[in-house]
């Protein structure tokens, strides 16, 4: 009996070694990241959030932010008719869903049908109103899906007909119309996105999900470019508190994390952390709207005076401090239709000019100005920026400004209807094209009731949306921005946001100003 002990020990040690030996041949690469939202949101049709689903379902085309071009994704080629209204997509061949069914044009057609179907109540359905029949279907004027301008020509060919030519349409498809496996919805209903049911055609599949806790993505071998996907497993932990995520990063539990504004100074001054620090642009514009329905901002000179009195540079230098860029115009850099600073559009900081403008408007030294209400949705940063602006307006223009923090949900609605004189807004780009800002926020048709209206601006934005020539488009958007932020001064752009991250040295992410979670493009060094 005693003699058998060493044998048992050797046996058990070698048993323990087996997985180790097997493992060395195929080292699993695992990435640990945090999510600030609940990962239960998987269905790309029903939600705005794409961090998880964009890695599971493939859109027709992608967008390459480094080269600012539309890139092949689900479709490997496409063509546009001469009149610019008919798009024909060729879907990749020899590519299967994770259950073995081939990916076809039907899967994409179904995705578009599902978004415009009012029964789905998809929040972003309005972005497809450019497609023939989409608006009538979504507004319940007809229920006949055959009126939708999305047609399956054959198993690999999809045709989309537009109401009018739209230069921005192709790039907008990078974030809408993810292929949906219809048969799984028919079998499982709302539970089709659960790990045990989900069928994907993208780089990753969902293998585990715990509400408010974590989601696990595993590489999908049936993805058409599975060979080029470097990371095998991605653990996405739900961590809502930014400072906790930072502590987890410092403890080695996360590989990449966003740095909260309050920790920026510490991170930049820490010899170890500063080496892992990344600062880059983020396609979000931070701006103030003026209410033109009431005095004094019904007067364009007053609006111009108030803009000229704001020192935006000191706001980004001393308040936000995260490497934000002062924005003279609205469309962020990197998006089609961004107006370069060299064009000289916008109202520069000039206190003397501001005073002169205000005097011209009939309020010399601020005399006779009614009290101004400046509203913002309650947050520390918004509040500090508003305080700075309040002080600038008081000191330079003699205006008495009352700050009005408003609780989130009701804010945008009551502000849009004109409850305040000035109110804060922000907009993150859904797709990198100026149409996403001008065409969806400020024209007379879609803009908040209380903001400025200008017919020439409206027609420029409408024309730019259908213009095919990129140079002509930029001219039109330049002119449109000039009207909106300078001549009319209906909107005051303040800054374009910045991304501040800490990244472990072995992780090589692909980062862009917009969607930052394209994990299939990331690599991990061993």
């Amino acid at each position: 009996m005693i003699g058998s002990r060493p044998l048992v020990r050797i046996l058990s040690i070698s048993m323990m070694l087996i997985p180790l030996l097997l493992g060395t041949g195929m080292a699993q690469k695992t990435l640990n990241v945090s999510l600030s939202q609940d990962p239960y949101i998987i269905d790309p049709t029903a939600n705005w959030l794409y961090d998880v689903p964009a890695n599971m379902f493939v859109t027709l085309v992608g967008y390459d932010f480094e080269t600012s071009t539309v890139s092949p994704a689900g479709a490997d080629s496409w063509s546009v008719s001469d009149d610019g209204t008919t798009y024909t997509f060729h879907i990749r061949e020899g590519w299967n869903w994770s259950d073995g069914k081939p990916v076809t044009a039907e899967d994409y057609a179904f995705a578009f049908e599902r978004i415009v179907d009012p029964a789905t109540a998809a929040p972003m359905a309005y972005r497809l109103y450019i497609i023939e029949g989409a608006q009538a279907l979504n507004q319940g004027e007809t229920t006949d899906m055959s009126t939708l301008g999305v047609k399956v020509i054959d198993s690999q060919t999809l045709e989309i007909k537009l109401v009018s030519p739209a230069s921005w349409f192709l790039s907008s498809l990078g974030s809408i119309g993810h292929a949906i496996p219809k048969w799984t919805l028919e079998t499982h209903g709302d539970d089709w996105t659960l790990p045990e049911n989900v069928v994907v055609n993208g780089p990753y599949t969902l293998t585990q999900i715990e509400a408010e806790d974590l989601a696990v993505l595993e590489k999908n071998p049936s993805y058409f470019a599975a060979d080029s996907v470097d990371i095998d497993t991605i653990n996405l932990y739900v961590v809502k508190e930014e400072s906790t995520a930072l502590a987890l990063f410092e403890d080695g539990d996360l590989d990449i994390v966003s740095v909260p504004a309050t920790d920026l100074d510490r991170v930049k001054n820490d010899p170890m952390l500063s080496a892992e620090f990344y600062n880059g642009p983020k396609n979000i514009i931070y701006y103030y709207d003026f209410n033109v329905l009431q005095p004094p901002f019904d007067n364009v000179k007053v609006r111009q005076a108030f803009v000229a009195a704001v020192d935006k540079q000191s706001i980004v230098d001393f308040i936000t401090k995260g490497g934000e860029v002062v924005a003279p115009t609205l469309t962020p850099p990197g998006s089609v239709g961004h107006v370069p600073a060299s064009a000289g559009i916008g109202i520069p900081f000039d206190p003397e000019h501001a005073k002169a403008l205000l005097a011209e408007a009939g309020y010399p030294g601020g005399e006779g100005l009614p009290p101004i209400t400046l509203a913002f949705n309650s947050s520390e940063t918004h509040s500090r920026i508003a305080q700075a602006v309040q002080q600038m307006w008081q000191q330079t223009l003699g205006a008495s400004v009352e700050l009005q923090p408003v609780e989130g949900r009701a804010y945008s609605q009551i502000a849009a209807e004109g409850a305040f004189n000035v109110w804060r807004m922000g907009w993150g780009m859904d797709y990198p094209d100026a149409n996403n800002i001008h065409g969806e926020l400020f024209t007379s048709e879609v803009g908040a009731p209380a903001i400025v209206r200008n017919a020439q601006y409206d027609s420029l934005v409408a024309e730019a949306a259908v213009e095919q020539d990129p140079a002509r488009r930029l001219e039109m958007y330049t002119e449109a921005e000039k009207i909106l932020v300078q001549d009319e001064a209906g909107v005051m752009p303040i800054y374009w946001s910045a991304e501040n991250l800490l990244i472990k040295p072995y992780l090589k992410p692909v980062l862009s100003g917009s969607f930052n979670r394209e994990f299939w493009k990331w690599t991990l060094e061993n």
């Binding site: 998809a122 929040p123 309005y126 979504n138 403890d251 989130g408 949900r409 945008s412 609605q413 009551i414």
Partner: protein, 309 residues
């Protein structure tokens, strides 16, 4: 006793109906749509589709009856914020972590609070008393929002004794339980001290002493038992509050608990979640108060429930 429990249990029903009605009216009286984002109100047609999808296009009376009808059948409705999840899912998934954390915090609060309170009462106006009460005031004054990150920094990042955050292992439960429990321990300590001070000057304590009983027996059997009544009274609501989750502590330690739903559902106008969490809390509160009332009979035999009105 049985009739008392039966009567009190029946009384829960009208209480819940009144609470549900008030909550329902209040939440619909607050302006703002559940579907607007902070950056932009939704186009009107999209808004209409969403409202129809969740029956928000019906009258308030219809909506309330629909909700109560479903709730009686055990269906607390969908969550507007998370399409594929129902309020039942949310409570099923998130109540357990909150419950465990709340019980641990309650344990911390009792196991520290009562002995500290007793000791400082017995050593009134000595340095032990001053130190204990200083700690208690500190415990009440330092909010979880400060204590949590402080513990993460000190215990996890500097000393590497425990994990930073997240939920699943017993090690991960220690820091959040302390963060949530210490403040309440301080409250209980102060309460126990005050109550003990009152009791130990009573005649019957002097009698017990003069009978020659040991100090230990006098304190535990005679003094503490009576002194505990006000403490047990606060434990009822405290239990209900702790086991339904703490938004702050759960957020700091990335715990998938129910706490944030109480706050987020209101700010996002997620009506069914507001109703569900409010009713859940009401049930917890009513039940724990019932338990407190029952426990009085064990602590103090003079209290007879059946005769109570």
């Amino acid at each position: 006793m049985i009739t008392f429990i039966f009567r009190r249990t029946l009384a829960i029903i009208p209480v819940l109906i009144v609470i549900s009605l008030i909550t329902f009216l209040l939440m619909h009286a607050v302006p703002g749509s559940p579907f607007a984002t902070e950056d932009k109100p939704l186009p009107p047609q999209i808004q209409e589709n969403l409202e129809a999808y969740y029956y928000l296009d019906e009258t308030l009376v219809q909506q309330y009856l629909r909700y109560m009808g479903n709730a009686l059948r055990g269906d607390l409705g969908p969550s507007y914020m998370q399409r594929t999840r129902t309020v039942n899912d949310i409570i099923r998934d998130h109540l357990p972590p909150s419950f465990v954390l709340g019980m641990l915090a309650l344990f911390v609060a009792i196991i520290l609070g009562i002995p500290i309170g007793v000791i400082s009462a017995l050593r009134q106006n000595t340095w032990i008393d001053y130190l204990a009460m200083f700690l208690a005031i500190a415990g009440v004054s330092v909010p979880a929002m400060t204590l949590g990150p402080l513990l993460i920094w000190g215990v996890a990042l500097e000393l590497h004794l425990l994990p930073v955050a997240r939920w699943g292992t017993w090690q991960q439960a220690i820091l959040p339980a302390l963060t949530l429990g210490l403040g309440h321990a301080a409250v209980i300590a102060r309460l126990t001290r005050a109550s003990m001070l009152q009791v130990i000057h009573e005649d019957y304590i002097r009698t017990a002493h003069s009978k020659g009983l040991s100090e230990r027996r006098v304190v535990i059997k005679h003094a503490l038992r009576n002194a505990l009544i006000p403490v047990v009274t606060v434990l009822g609501p405290l239990f209900a509050a702790l086991v339904t989750g703490s938004m702050v502590v759960e957020q700091i330690f990335a715990i998938p608990g129910l706490g944030r739903y109480f706050i987020d559902s209101v700010s996002s106008r997620d009506y069914p979640v507001i109703m569900g969490t409010t009713l859940l809390f009401s049930v917890m509160l009513v039940v724990s108060n019932l338990a407190v009332d029952l426990s009085y009979t064990f602590i103090d035999p003079r209290i007879r429930l059946d005769q109570a009105k």
